[in-house]
């Protein structure tokens, strides 16, 4: 459990709304500009930040994030740069998590990674392909360094697995809204609400819904039953679609503020 992350959810709950969680990959299109975009997200009203660690084999990601992390890697983004992005973003005051596939963490050294991330001001880590069954050393390292662990649950998760995952989670439980990869969807099914209801039966941790969420309307719908709304690809697309850096900054901030209004709708 990490107090700063828990406070962010408590504050949102106190205001009768869901927390808005924004994802953006470090190093896209450059390290410097990714820091600027994430800072703009926070200005626009994102409560909690997920900094993505670019990885060569992002098998949970759809085309938009795939393209972004490929570009980040081609531009020479290293794990050390990602730590720097976390440090800069944490400086804005927004609780900052890292989202990563497992191998870059394991290769960096599990204990060293947790220590350096905590030193950079990170509050936790979302691991896309680490199951609780394989997480022994990770649990120890994150506990030592007061980092929140975030694991995912999916509509396919059995009740037994919901409990296994939730029990190992020390941050929020990341509920995948649908079966599939990241990317915007025009309509979300009822699977997310069902999953959140089922997960609440086994945990008191905050529950945040992600995958496919991109519009204020979707954010508002999810905010009615979840503690957090996670948006990723839509921010990346806003940058990709903008004609230049200044326009991209504005687009990201605007999107964040409309989503922030979404999670506050009654």
């Amino acid at each position: 459990m990490n107090a700063r992350l828990d406070d962010a959810f408590a504050t949102a709950r106190g205001e009768g709304r869901a927390a808005l969680i924004g994802y953006f990959p470090a190093g896209f299109p450059t390290v410097e500009s990714s820091i600027a975009y994430i800072t703009a997200m926070v200005r626009g009203g994102v409560d909690v930040v997920e900094v993505g660690l670019p990885y060569t084999d992002p098998l949970m990601d759809g085309p938009v994030i795939q393209r972004a992390v490929e570009a980040a890697l081609v531009n020479g983004t290293h794990t050390a740069d990602v730590m720097q992005v976390v440090a800069e973003v944490a400086g804005t005051g927004a609780p900052t998590l890292l989202m990563s596939y497992w191998n870059p963490i394991e290769h960096y050294g599990v204990e060293r990674f947790a220590r350096d991330l905590a030193a950079a001001g990170g509050v936790g880590v979302i691991t896309a392909d680490l199951t609780p069954e394989e997480a022994g050393p990770w649990n120890a390292a994150t506990d030592t360094h007061d980092l929140a662990r975030v694991f995912l649950v999916a509509p396919s998760s059995t009740s037994e697995r919901l409990k296994i995952v939730a029990d190992e989670t020390t941050g929020f439980v990341y509920a995948a809204s649908l079966m599939g990869v990241t990317g915007e969807r025009s309509a979300l099914s009822s699977a997310a609400e069902t999953l959140v209801r089922r997960t609440r039966e086994v945990t008191s941790r905050p529950l945040a819904v992600g995958l496919g969420v991109s519009t204020p309307r979707q954010a508002a719908d999810i905010a009615r039953f979840a503690d957090g709304v996670i948006v990723g690809s839509a921010f990346v697309r806003a940058v990709m679609d903008a004609p230049d850096h200044a326009a991209a900054l504005m687009a990201v901030e605007d999107l964040a503020s409309t989503l922030a209004a979404g999670v506050r709708q009654r």
Partner: protein
């Protein structure tokens, strides 16, 4: 040897399950279905019947007398998986998994393929059993293995050319995983090698164990003793583990030959057991070609079927405990052995298998004239004719 993997799919520190949570239920269901099927006489008989009447098993063991003359006097025998229906060992695993797919009530299979042999085998089994079939293949591989793309389409499969990342086998697997996580209710991922998350390395190995079981019996019958060594090529490692397993408890050397590409020192190779280190890719921990940040390094081999930056976790384990040894064979040595087998035995091997042939020639000189070696001739070379003709300057300009 003790029975591995453990119940969570670990071979020592290797294997396991590193996948999105969304796939855990499907993996659990697959594991359960497999465990029931493998002791169910109906399943066992159905698979044995297909092996006999459809694949053409048992595949013969051929002594390569003229080829052996180039191996320092050692006797070389070929386990003829090239003679199976569809032209490689891949059909063994595919028939097993396709039967399982039907037992699980799924109607669609997806597969990754590098050289196209696993894709062709999957398309074949899907046609035979009336399953919808989609094969993911890196765009680079669709070009260098165009014949197999045509075969898959003739068999009714949809072939998707993958344009992300390095556009080879690794990225085809990423794309297949994305499909699986989206369509897991209706779809079985018919993985083609002994890699991936548990139970794939164990299950695929078990479906290929027949290669070694037959070879051991055939060799004993032909010679009255066990061979000195087994030689197999290793990409993901399925044909190698298939022939190794029956000999694990024997005093028989086990040799795996990886794609040495242009030489380990050039960095352009696919020899992860020689030039890689432990890491996690595609659901399991094993040896992996990776950089200082744990990012996957693109592999290279003249052989599309060996062009993969990781390897099945059981090979990583066998390497670490010293039960099997792994060495790279460079492109040029593999192609020399390819030509030699054509000219001395009248057999055109797959370029993958030519790596094992080159390794056996090297082994023969080391082990001496009293030695005998079984080479797993995992596939035939029809698909490689264009590549080989270009290599040897035989193609029309």
């Amino acid at each position: 040897m003790e029975q591995l993997p453990d119940s969570r799919g670990h071979f020592g520190q290797y294997g396991g399950r590193f996948v999105p949570e969304a796939l855990m239920r499907a993996l659990d269901e697959l594991d359960e279905a497999y465990r029931k099927a493998k002791v169910d006489p109906e399943f066992i008989n159905e698979l044995a019947h297909l092996h006999r009447t459809y694949s053409g098993r048992p595949s013969p063991l051929t002594e390569a007398r003229r080829f052996s003359q180039h191996a320092g006097g050692a006797r070389i025998f070929l386990k003829r998986e090239d003679l199976n229906h569809t032209g490689s060992h891949k059909i063994n695993n595919v028939l097993g998994q396709a039967l399982l797919t039907k037992r699980m009530g799924k109607r669609r299979v997806i597969a990754e393929t590098g050289a196209g042999q696993h894709g062709v085998a999957t398309a074949t089994a899907a046609a035979l059993m009336g399953l919808e079939c989609v094969v993911y293949m890196g765009e680079v591989d669709t070009q260098r293995q165009a014949l197999n793309v045509a075969r898959m389409r003739l068999l009714g499969a949809e072939v998707v050319a993958v344009t992300s990342g390095s556009r080879t086998l690794k990225d085809a697997i990423n794309e297949a995983m994305r499909d699986w996580v989206t369509n897991v209710d209706s779809t079985h991922y018919l993985l083609g090698t002994v890699a991936g998350a548990h139970p794939f390395p164990e299950m695929v190995r078990d479906f290929h164990r027949i290669i070694g079981i037959e070879a051991r019996e055939q060799f004993l019958e032909a010679t009255g003793h066990l061979p000195t060594a087994i030689a197999a090529c290793v990409g993901g490692g399925s044909n190698a583990i298939g022939i190794f397993h029956a000999f694990l408890d024997d005093d028989v050397q086990l040799w795996g030959f990886e794609g040495g590409g242009k030489g380990i020192e050039t960095g352009e190779h696919s020899a992860c057991l020689t030039g890689g280190e432990p890491g996690v890719l595609h659901g399991a921990r094993s040896y992996l070609l990776q950089d200082a940040d744990g990012q996957t390094i693109e592999s290279y081999s003249v052989s599309a079927g060996l062009d993969y930056p990781s390897v099945g976790p059981e090979h990583a384990y066998l390497k670490d405990i010293g039960r099997a040894r792994y060495e790279p064979v460079n492109d040029d040595k593999a192609m020399d052995a390819f030509a030699l087998l054509c000219r001395t035995e009248g057999i055109i091997p797959a370029i993958e298998s030519a790596h094992a042939l080159a390794g056996a020639l090297r082994l023969g000189h080391t082990l001496g004239p009293a030695a005998s070696i079984i080479v797993n001739l995992s596939g035939r070379g029809d698909k490689d004719v264009v590549t080989a003709a270009r290599w040897f300057g035989l193609a029309e300009a």
